[in-house]
């Protein structure tokens, strides 16, 4: 081996003690790595327990489907044999299992919950289960098939059984399909809902569109401010930065409701316009509880998130660049667009992605000022969590929102590069 160098191959470098240099380097760095890990560990555990684990658990609900198998175990087992293409209705055995399951479910008060779950897939299931559960105690001898159909004629529908059979799997795509306005037919085919019934896709689209517009507005308003902050003497810029940050020290609710006070029909702006005679009393503008309200209030609230990254980038751009451009003959406008502006792009990217991501997940402000035309997908998620109690759907919607954010982040990294992003 030692002579191999003659033929142009080299042995790995060795340290003084004779072991390969890479090995001894790795060992000397291990201590440092362990130390770094130790410093990070408490925060990491905290984030894991209070943030990542709950989010993971919540996202899991978007595909989880234990309820049917847990509540109707006998039925699910018996239905395994049934082939709807051969037999119109399942055997007596399946009906018997259903009666047994329902009796237990009635005792445990879980019958209406499973009915509700099945209702997401096929409407009418909820009332079928509720009314049958009430009567099932009185069914105590075969033939169970006739008895059940007598209790509710829904049990004579093959569709009822097909849905139960399909939804008995442990995991379901159903919530995700619902979240993109699609559904599975009784026969298991996937199809989009008709246009009129679509709720979530238009809402996703509106959320993205309004957020993009809000991002654009914060950019248009924030760029000149950031430029001013970066160019005035420090004494003045410190004062101005405090004014930019002032909103952060005011409660979000206060800021949002003060926009209501300003913008509503009987609000300050309308009163003023009527007072000076620009508007007649009947034609007061509707500026709140619609998309306009959301845009105005959100632009105001998110503006600092655009200004600060822009400012921190602009602060590092030496005035000598624009001076150099001018000395080379460029007019102020040309120097601005060709020399100054391109150097602010990392700040624009950072600000825009920050504002956009914050915006598409925003809840409180659209809830208060958005009316019906200015609400976001997050308001719908909250509705599914707290009012309709369809957590699976809420989780699926949340997962899609998270997916969109991650894709955007990835796209941004491809185009601008995360390394170029400057936050401060």
């Amino acid at each position: 081996m030692a002579n191999e160098t003659d033929t142009g191959r080299y042995e790995p470098l060795r340290s003084a003690s004779g072991e390969p240099l890479k090995v001894s380097l790795r060992r000397s760095l291990r201590r440092q790595k362990l130390q770094a890990l130790g410093l990070v560990a408490p925060l990491f555990l905290f984030v894991l327990v209070t943030f990542l684990a709950p989010i993971g658990g919540m996202l899991f609900r978007s595909v989880e489907n234990q309820i049917v198998g847990d509540t109707l175990p006998r039925t699910v087992a018996a239905l395994g044999e049934w082939n709807p293409n051969v037999q119109e209705l399942p055997d007596e055995e399946v009906f018997a299992a259903m009666v047994a399951d329902l009796k237990i479910a009635r005792e445990a008060r879980t019958a209406s919950r499973v009915g509700q779950r099945l209702n997401y897939e096929f409407s009418g299931m909820s009332s079928l289960f509720r009314s049958t559960a009430r009567k099932v105690a009185r069914i105590d001898e075969p033939p169970y098939k006739d008895a059940l159909i007598k209790a509710h004629k829904g049990w004579a529908e093959p569709a009822t059984w097909k849905v139960i059979q399909r939804v008995s799997a442990k995991y379901t795509p159903g919530y995700f399909l619902a979240a993109v306005d699609a559904e599975q037919t009784v026969d298991g085919d996937i199809r989009m809902l008709p246009d009129r019934q679509r709720v979530y896709l238009p809402l996703f689209w509106r959320t993205m569109l309004l957020s993009a517009f809000i991002t654009l507005m914060t950019f248009l308003l924030g760029f000149p401010i950031a430029h001013l902050l970066a160019t005035v003497p420090t004494r003045i810029s410190n004062l101005l930065i405090i004014m930019v940050l002032l909103p952060f020290w005011t409660s979000l609710l206060v800021r949002t409701t003060s926009w209501i006070a300003l913008l509503q029909k009987e609000g300050v702006i309308n009163d003023l316009l009527v007072g000076i005679g620009i508007l007649s009393d009947e034609s007061r503008l509707t500026m709140i509880h619609n998309a306009t309200g959301t845009i105005v209030a959100m632009t105001h609230i998110l503006l600092p998130f655009m200004v600060l990254p822009l400012y921190s980038v602009m602060k590092t751009i030496s005035p000598n660049y624009v001076r150099a451009a001018k000395s080379l003959g460029a007019t102020p406008a040309y120097a601005f667009f060709k020399v100054y502006f391109p150097q602010t792009v990392p700040g624009i990217g950072a600000g825009a992605i920050l504002v956009f991501i914050l915006s598409i997940g925003y809840y409180i402000t659209p809830e208060l000022v958005g009316g019906t035309s200015g609400t976001f997908i997050s308001n719908r998620i909250a509705y599914n969590i707290s009012s309709s109690l369809n957590w699976g759907l809420a989780a699926a919607l949340g997962a899609i929102l998270l997916g969109i954010v991650i894709v955007l982040y990835w796209l941004y990294d491809k185009i601008v590069g995360i390394d170029n992003m400057k936050m401060g």
Partner: protein
């Protein structure tokens, strides 16, 4: 208009204040000749950059007038002045390649594509970087960036180029190399250069004339040899080259000779350059290489002293002597055949000619 005897730039009674309280430039009058390499030399904060910024058009003069090619330019915006400029940290546009940086002033002037390409190529050859056209400034070394900045300031053939401490960020060897390179470019193009530096050896190496700045005032405007040999005040004598300073009081002025009673003891005969009358304070300035050891008896100034320290520097021996009550008096003894050989703590006789000892302001 472009009469070659007319100065390319004139500062006429120019004053500048940033805050309305302090004059950063006080009554500047300066003519810069066509084709000249003029250096503004002075310590940090003396107003050199401010003068350059006023000339380039980035700072307005508070008072007075600046003319370029005979026309007042106080109200001409910088991009119409046609002055090339090299900035302290080069200010190369980081998002453009070297070639795009060089093409920038040409595109602004709406030149044809072929013309731009040939000029960029020529400029890169001039600074010996033809392979770097496609690189970004961040991928170049400091010296290479420096060259690109010089090329960019010259590529559109300006009559006048301003350079603000362009070599400040380079290490010593590279700085010296670049000094010669810039000097040669100046000579071959015949362009006028106004150069700012706080490094006196750089100024001496490169310039046709040097304006020494201190505290917003031009202390002396002369050729390098004149500045070194005939400083007109104590600041210039001290700032340029090494200098022995002896403080004293004038006891007699007699035409080309004055007699000074030095504070530490001793009567010195000196050349009165910038002095008041009898009884006034003065600073005597004497270059270390003009002091001789064991001078002839008829020398006007001969003193007994003690050798404090000897430092061997190859071409000369730097000797610190305690004389006339000053223990920081430096004598340079050239390492020539038969030079005096001294020992530390030994007594020594030193002397100098009257004309080499200049009596300046206190």
């Amino acid at each position: 208009m472009t009469d070659s005897n007319e100065p390319i730039v004139r500062f006429i009674d120019v004053q500048k204040s940033y805050d309305g309280e302090i004059l950063v430039v006080k009554n500047l009058n300066l003519d810069i000749a066509r084709g000249e390499f003029l250096t503004m030399l002075g310590p940090s904060g003396s107003g050199k950059t401010t003068c350059l910024m006023m000339l380039a058009g980035f700072e307005p003069a508070t008072h007075g007038e600046i003319t370029l090619n005979g026309k007042p330019i106080n109200n001409v915006p910088p991009y119409k002045r046609g002055i090339g400029m090299v900035f302290q940290n080069y200010a190369l546009f980081p998002h453009m390649t070297v070639a795009e940086n060089l093409a920038f002033p040409l595109e602004v002037r709406r030149m044809g594509k072929a013309e731009i390409e040939s000029r960029v190529t020529r400029a890169l050859e001039m600074v010996r970087l033809p392979e770097m056209a496609g690189r970004r400034p961040g991928q170049l070394s400091g010296g290479q960036q420096q060259r690109v900045a010089v090329a960019r300031a010259l590529v559109f053939d300006p009559d006048l180029v301003l350079m603000d401490e362009p070599l400040g960020a380079l290490d010593k060897n590279l700085r010296e190399e670049m000094q010669y390179e810039i000097k040669h470019i100046h000579e071959s193009l015949g362009v006028s250069v106004v150069y700012v530096t706080h490094d006196q050896s750089e100024a001496l190496t490169m310039s046709n004339r040097i304006a020494v700045f201190n505290d917003g005032v031009v202390q002396q405007l002369s050729t390098p040899d004149d500045l070194y040999e005939r400083p007109e005040n104590a600041f210039v004598a001290q700032f340029i080259g090494e200098n022995n300073r002896l403080m004293g009081t004038i006891t007699e002025v007699n035409g080309e000779t004055c007699t000074v009673d030095v504070d530490g003891g001793g009567i010195v005969k000196a050349l009165p350059v910038n002095v008041g009358g009898v009884g006034e304070r003065t600073t005597l300035s004497l270059r270390p290489e003009r002091v001789t050891v064991d001078p002839p008896e008829n020398s006007p100034n001969v003193f007994e002293g003690t050798v404090e320290e000897l430092i061997y520097l190859g071409d000369h021996i730097r000797t610190r002597v305690n004389v006339c009550g000053h223990d920081d008096f430096i004598v340079k003894i050239p390492n020539a055949a038969g030079h005096a050989s001294l020992a530390e703590k030994a007594p020594v006789r030193v002397g100098w000619e009257k004309d080499d000892c200049r009596a300046l302001d206190a």
